[in-house]
């Protein structure tokens, strides 16, 4: 790894970015759950207006003034978004897009106009926003850390209300919660975090850390509390990885690397998460479909065994399965091959392309039919909860229902 003692700058940047990563992950989760993932982006764009107005009004360029002005305009921008949605027919995503476009346009207009309107020394106003992650100072890091703590505490305290509003705003309003106030609080929290993070790590990094960790966390858990914490941890880890890689070689911009680290974690989560992961879902869908096809094939064999000389050809079975499976011929052929593999069917001597059910195959087929009938009875007589136990791969009803106490 790096030199035994971590370079001072790396340490400071690591602390600062990790704090932003954690806070953004936690607060971002609430935004993502509230279907407002890009609110961070809107806030980031709205800050340019604040910076320009701050300079115009106060004429000063020091960090505190511009930060305060940027915060005011970010909250105003997001407030406008909420108002747009309440008083006009415009929908959510259009409202966010309008705020992004118009506020940034106004920002650019002001910044470009300032030198022409006779204000000296207006250079670098815009630079104020394009922070370089690698150039964090101790002051920046402490600011970010404190904002992160505040954000985490506020969310921890208000988690119950925030989750309620995020899940079902109508119910929350009905049961007396001040939905509008909670909404504005969340919006203000995002604005504070974006404005604090902006000069330090830049707009795109903040937007990314508000969106990517929560979405990645969503793959691993179904509980809100765990999701918030996990998103925070993912943001933190992404920050540390990005910083470490960037410190290895000159020429690697730190901010974007943190984003790419977060994206990598998202990619991994998307693919291999146990329950909701893409691979898991594909496998589950596949195994269920194959099990069902094998069942149909067995059924067809049993039916054929009962008629004529009890033999059948693979083509008949494939046709029966194909007729019932959108996979068509291929599903039928696979099902039949599976039966052969499990010695459920055996070729009849005499060279004709004829097969018959083996004893084991017959037992399996009859067991499946028995389960079908048993489940049919369960469905008829018992209310919903018994039916919950039924799944496509036909578990033995007795064993499963034993738990729910209903008659099998």
């Amino acid at each position: 790894m790096t030199a035994p003692v971590i370079a001072y700058n790396t340490f400071v940047v690591a602390v600062g970015v990790a704090a932003v990563g954690f806070a953004a992950g936690v607060v971002g989760s609430l935004c993502v759950l509230r279907k407002r993932a890009l609110v961070g982006d809107a806030a980031a764009h709205a800050t340019l207006v604040g910076v320009a107005c701050g300079f115009l009004v106060t004429g000063r360029r020091d960090l505190a003034t511009l930060l305060a002005a940027a915060l005011v305009s970010a909250v105003a921008g997001l407030g406008a978004m909420v108002l747009l949605r309440r008083f006009t027919r415009t929908r959510d995503d259009a409202a966010i897009a309008i705020v992004i476009g118009v506020s940034f346009g106004l920002g650019i207009t002001l910044v470009s106009g300032i030198p022409a309107w006779g204000y000296a020394d207006s250079a670098g106003l815009e630079q104020f926003l394009l922070g370089h992650t690698a150039a964090l100072t101790a002051a920046d890091a402490t600011l970010l850390a404190s904002v992160a703590c505040v954000a985490a505490i506020v969310v921890a305290i208000g988690l119950k209300e925030a989750t309620l509003v995020a899940f079902d705003a109508a119910f929350a309003a009905a049961s007396g919660w001040p939905v509008a106030v909670i909404d504005y609080l969340l919006v203000a929290l995002v604005a504070v975090m974006v404005v604090a993070g902006l000069p330090a790590v830049g707009a795109v990094l903040v937007t990314a850390l508000v969106v990517i960790p929560p979405v990645a966390a969503r793959f691993w858990t179904d509980r809100v509390g765990t999701m918030l914490l996990l998103a925070g941890v993912i943001g933190l880890v992404a920050a540390l990885v990005g910083v470490a890689v960037s410190a290895m070689r000159p020429g690697l911009a730190t901010g974007p690397l943190v984003v790419l680290a977060a994206a990598a974690i998202f990619g991994v989560s998307f693919l291999i998460a146990p329950e909701r992961g893409w691979i898991a879902r594909r496998i589950r869908a596949r195994t269920l479909a194959d099990a069902w096809s094998r069942g149909l094939a067995l059924d067809a064999c049993l039916r054929a065994a009962g008629a004529g000389d009890g033999t059948f050809t693979p083509v008949d079975v494939e046709a029966a399965v194909a007729g019932d499976r959108q996979g068509g011929r291929r599903a039928g052929a696979e099902a039949f091959a599976a039966l052969v593999r499990t010695a459920a069917v055996a070729p009849v001597a005499g060279g004709r392309d004829a097969w018959r059910l083996t004893a084991a195959g017959r037992a399996l087929a009859e067991e499946r039919r028995r389960r079908l009938d048993a489940w049919a009875r369960v469905i008829e007589h018992d209310p919903d909860d018994a039916r919950e136990a039924l799944t496509i791969d036909l578990p033995a009803p007795g064993a499963v229902l034993g738990r729910t106490g209903a008659g099998s």
Partner: protein, 269 residues
């Protein structure tokens, strides 16, 4: 066993393949089955009801027939042919809440959509299509509302707009998903009368419906569904108390209990 009145015998009664043939249709969301091994046929044009309690998979069965949801097993054939080949002859009336009624289109625009499948990519609807749309609107009694934005219609009127769109498609088989949900009595009457005209004109109309009273009154044949097929056939033969009990198993007991409780409290207060 699948206590289906018309068993899954391969050779159907008449020489012609059935108009619509549900063959062992099974649909599952993830691991949980919603429609389980449903197997029945409809042989001649009629007003056919798919009846059952809420959450019984009626709509899912309909969507499976139209290829809108993937099936785990089984297939649906139309006159012996897969859906792909007969798409334009099949009309679909979706549930009302699947659509954003704030969408900037008016009644005529929506009804004209029924004719787009035949027009293909680039041809614009011409006089013939407009005439067809106006005729469809006439049949559902909305001719004078052609220019009104759809958001400004009542529930019943919106449902009839969807119906007019299906009529404009001049299909032979119509699937309607809960057309009577949230519709006032007078409009239900109007819609059922239009469906009866369709049947008289030799079309097959399949309706997912939940209200037993109007079902008995209007449908020629029904299928009772509660995740699996309970029974199918002529309405009178199928809607027996026994079949209803088996379809609404848990639900009826709950209803009866409720009825007894209300009656008891009524006496004492």
């Amino acid at each position: 066993m699948n206590a289906a009145a018309s068993g899954p015998s391969p050779a159907s009664s008449s020489a012609r393949p059935p108009l619509v043939d549900f063959h062992d249709v099974t649909v599952a969301y993830g691991r949980r089955p919603v429609v389980w091994n449903v197997d029945f046929e409809i042989d001649e044009p009629c007003l056919f009801g798919i009846i059952g309690p809420n959450g019984a998979g009626k709509s899912t069965l309909l969507k499976a027939a139209l290829g809108l949801v993937p099936t785990v097993g089984g297939s649906v054939r139309f006159g012996g042919r897969p859906l792909r080949e007969v798409r334009s002859r099949v009309g679909y009336v979706p549930q009302r809440e699947t659509v954003d009624w704030d969408f900037p289109v008016n009644v005529m625009d929506v009804v004209l959509m029924g004719t787009y499948a035949r027009l293909g990519w680039f041809r614009r609807p011409g006089a013939r299509e407009r005439e067809l749309a106006r005729a469809s609107l006439d049949r559902v009694g909305l001719a004078d509302l052609a220019d009104r934005q759809i958001g400004r219609l009542s529930g019943g009127q919106q449902q009839r707009v969807f119906l007019a769109r299906a009529l404009a498609q001049e299909a032979d088989i119509y699937f309607l998903d809960e057309p009577m949900a949230g519709v006032d009595m007078r409009s239900q009457e109007g819609i059922f009368r239009v469906l009866a005209d369709l049947r008289a004109a030799g079309r097959l109309v399949i309706v997912v419906h939940h209200d037993l009273r109007t079902a008995a009154e209007w449908f020629d044949r029904v299928a009772l569904i509660d995740m699996r097929l309970v029974a199918t056939g002529p309405t009178a033969a199928v809607l027996t108390p026994e079949n209803l009990r088996r379809t609404y198993a848990g639900h009826i007991e709950v209803l009866e209990e409720l009825g007894r409780a209300v009656a008891a409290r009524g006496r004492t207060s």
